[in-house]
């Protein structure tokens, strides 16, 4: 089992009890009065059969408060995810925080800072790097690239999943597009691992047909479901942080109810990626402080419900790896981790979901180590207080470097970043003035050259190839290839 980071600090809470109650009441009101659209006939009937008021004409489902409360109680507060290797199993929930990578449509040229379509080899190397990084506890959706040179768009997720299973023995999360889950589920089963299945409502307050189908399919496969929603404040959600928290809650809880009605006790994680809109361009303002406020509230609310949470905010507005990208991603990740989220998506994320870089993932490992160290808090006991030692060393000329206490404790208490430049100034001048990007590039190349992922068995490998073939003919028939 992967340990992740234990949160031994008080959780960051930004809402009072009264505010929490107002948000809960508001959520119940909207679920019962306004309702949520499910654009899938079978699902509408399903809700009607389970005590919801369904308007079949405009496909609206209204959920009574008692049902909402009942379903929220049925969600397990933690669950175990089975990886290809037991050492990579995860226990999601409680005071454990794990970290995972983000996806990107393509990669980036680190000299021109222009987006580049990755090759199949880039995709293989990217997952290899993620498998090698200790603080990447599981491999995320679409990982990492949504477009790969020479791969038809309909096949990206399927070839991507095959690659993830071949290049990593960590737990995978996966999304869905055009029935891709039919094939990715089979692949995971062949590799004897569970997936975290994603289901995304479309804000405001709509589940399209593919989201409904994905929900049934993940649950039938026995996989936990990660319900994630990301309105844009002022666009697809209210402009206010509280208002967009209500619509986001409604979207997520409607999905929770759906899941618990299909199979009570289904393991659920919820994810929030609400962003303010950039009111000049109309795109989400990635890395904004409002994201941190939103996520802190969201985490507090769902911690109250006893439902594990997932932070989907690794992205930044910065286009380069620079000061802005560093502060945008680190501040949000730190604050949400402090709020008590169970899974933080961060490694490799750059602008929006448009570009991704393994070099960024390597740098993010430092950010994660830093945050994880903070979460673990301070060990206060007789030995760490070191009163006797302080008495023994006394004032100058006493010092601590040569003490057994120092040897024993410094490595336990001090986090050592892997690529950050911490050289003394003169040494830095003498050794070529390397910055973190240069150091991370070197480490990335080294990881690609040296890391050996645990291979699948020959039988599994062959079966996965067959599933790829099957998917190819499925999409050819559908006219998507």
């Amino acid at each position: 089992m992967l340990k992740g980071f234990s949160r031994n600090i008080k959780s960051l809470e930004i809402l009072t009890d009264e505010e929490l109650a107002a948000i809960h009441r508001g959520t119940l009101d909207v679920l019962e009065t306004t309702g949520v659209t499910f654009d899938h006939q079978e699902t509408l009937q399903f809700f009607a059969d389970h005590g919801c008021q369904v308007d079949f004409n405009n496909k609206r489902v209204r959920m009574p408060g008692w049902l909402v409360e009942d379903c929220l109680r049925k969600v397990p507060s933690s669950f175990v995810l089975k990886a290809r290797e037991p050492k990579n199993d995860m226990k999601i929930g409680g005071n454990i925080t794990y970290f995972t990578n983000a996806p990107g449509m393509g990669t980036i040229d680190l000299d021109s800072w222009e987006p580049v379509t990755p090759t199949r080899e880039d995709n293989v190397n990217a997952v290899k790097v993620l498998d090698s990084l200790e603080t990447v506890h599981n491999i995320g959706c679409y990982t990492p690239y949504m477009e790969i040179e020479g791969v038809p768009p309909a096949m990206t997720m399927i070839e991507g999943m095959a690659n993830k299973l071949r290049m990593s023995s960590k737990v995978n999360q996966e999304a869905y597009q055009k029935d891709s889950e039919l094939f990715t589920i089979k692949m995971a089963q062949v590799a004897e691992t569970q997936l975290i299945g994603t289901v995304d409502p479309s804000p405001p307050m709509t589940y399209d047909e593919s989201a409904c189908k994905a929900m049934y399919r993940w649950i039938e496969a026995g996989f936990p479901v990660d319900i994630g929603s990301g309105a844009v404040m002022g666009g697809t959600g209210p402009a206010t942080i509280a208002g967009s928290t209500i619509t986001n809650n409604v979207e997520l809880i409607a999905g929770i109810i759906f899941s618990q009605l299909i199979k009570p006790g289904t393991a659920i994680m919820v994810a929030d990626f609400v962003h303010p809109m950039d009111m000049r361009g109309g795109h989400p303002a990635f890395g904004a402080v409002e994201c941190a406020l939103h996520e802190a509230m969201f985490t507090q609310i769902f911690r109250g419900y006893g439902i594990p949470t997932h932070h989907w905010y690794g992205f930044v507005s910065a286009k380069k790896m620079d000061f802005q990208s560093g502060y945008e991603k680190s501040m949000i990740a730190l604050l949400t981790a402090m709020a008590g989220t169970n899974l933080v998506e961060i490694h490799g994320a750059m602008y929006g979901e448009l570009v991704w870089s393994p070099v960024q993932a390597v740098m993010d490992e430092d950010v994660v180590g830093w945050i994880g160290r903070f979460l673990e808090g301070v060990n206060v006991n007789n030995e760490t207080l070191a009163i006797d030692l302080i008495e023994e060393v006394g004032p100058i000329p006493g010092f601590y470097l040569n003490k057994e206490h120092t040897r024993k404790w410094w490595k336990k208490e001090h986090f050592i970043p892997k690529v950050a430049d911490r050289a003394a100034f003169q040494e830095w001048l003498r050794t070529g003035k390397k910055d973190i990007i240069a150091l991370a590039k070197e480490r990335t190349e080294e990881l690609i050259a040296k890391h050996k992922p645990k291979p699948l068995t020959l039988g599994q490998d062959k079966e996965i190839d067959e599933i790829i073939e099957e998917a190819m003919s499925y999409y050819k028939q559908k006219g998507l290839i």
């Binding site: 949504m146 399209d208 002022g234 009111m279 000049r280 361009g281 109309g282």
Partner: protein, 215 residues
């Protein structure tokens, strides 16, 4: 009296007054004001808002609200134009929509508003539009430009389908095709055989004009 109605119509758009715009449009029709003048009032004020947006004085929420006000008055005026068999001046006719399999609305609507503000006649088909629906609208409205919006490139086959259908019908040379959306790039536009792409809404208007040979 006519001046008062026209001024109020202009003001309704500038002040984002959706109901006011419709009711002043109805008044313009009732008082038999030249519908071309009423139409001018609408485009002048939406252009004024669009220009303020361009200068960074107004933002998208204002642009969207002014567009709503204009849209509430437009059908009333258009109906009157039709009745009088008057042809409006237009830079060109645009059919716009978000492609099938995609329900992203906001970016497409921004482009649509700015095109109207600049003097194009725009038929916004909405979201999740199939190839057949695009083709039908192009034929119906005798469009000069087809503008397709998509967030993700997974919808590429849909866009290619529209373009092939236009070729088969011998219409490809008659209509210019522009594409846009969050993940769309120049390279993508080229790969599906579109005539142009621009990453921003104001840029899309410049592109539309260039495609039909204005400016």
């Amino acid at each position: 009296m006519a001046v008062e109605v026209i001024e109020n119509l202009k003001r309704a758009v500038i002040e984002y007054d959706v109901e006011g715009a419709a009711s002043w449009a109805r008044k313009a029709v009732a008082e038999q004001i030249d519908p071309l003048k009423a139409l001018d009032a609408l485009t002048i004020s939406i252009r004024q808002v669009g220009d303020a947006f361009g200068r960074g004085e107004l933002f998208l929420p204002e642009l969207a609200a002014a567009a709503d006000a204009m849209q509430s008055a437009m059908p009333i005026i258009e109906e009157e134009l039709k009745k009088r068999e008057v042809k409006r001046k237009t830079l060109g006719t645009v059919v716009i929509g978000t492609v099938y399999g995609d329900i992203h609305n906001i970016g497409k609507s921004m482009v649509s508003t700015l095109l109207v503000a600049d003097g194009f006649t725009v038929h916004d088909l909405g979201i999740n539009i199939t190839a057949d629906e695009f083709i039908k609208a192009i034929n119906n409205y005798k469009a000069d430009i087809l503008a397709m919006s998509a967030l993700l490139t997974i919808t590429a086959p849909e866009q290619t389908k529209v373009i092939s259908a236009l070729k088969e019908m011998g219409l490809r040379d008659k209509v210019k095709i522009m594409v846009g959306g969050g993940a769309i790039t120049y390279k993508f536009a080229e790969s599906i055989g579109a005539d142009g792409y621009d990453p921003t809404a104001p840029g899309a208007v410049v592109l539309a004009k260039r495609l039909i040979g204005i400016e």
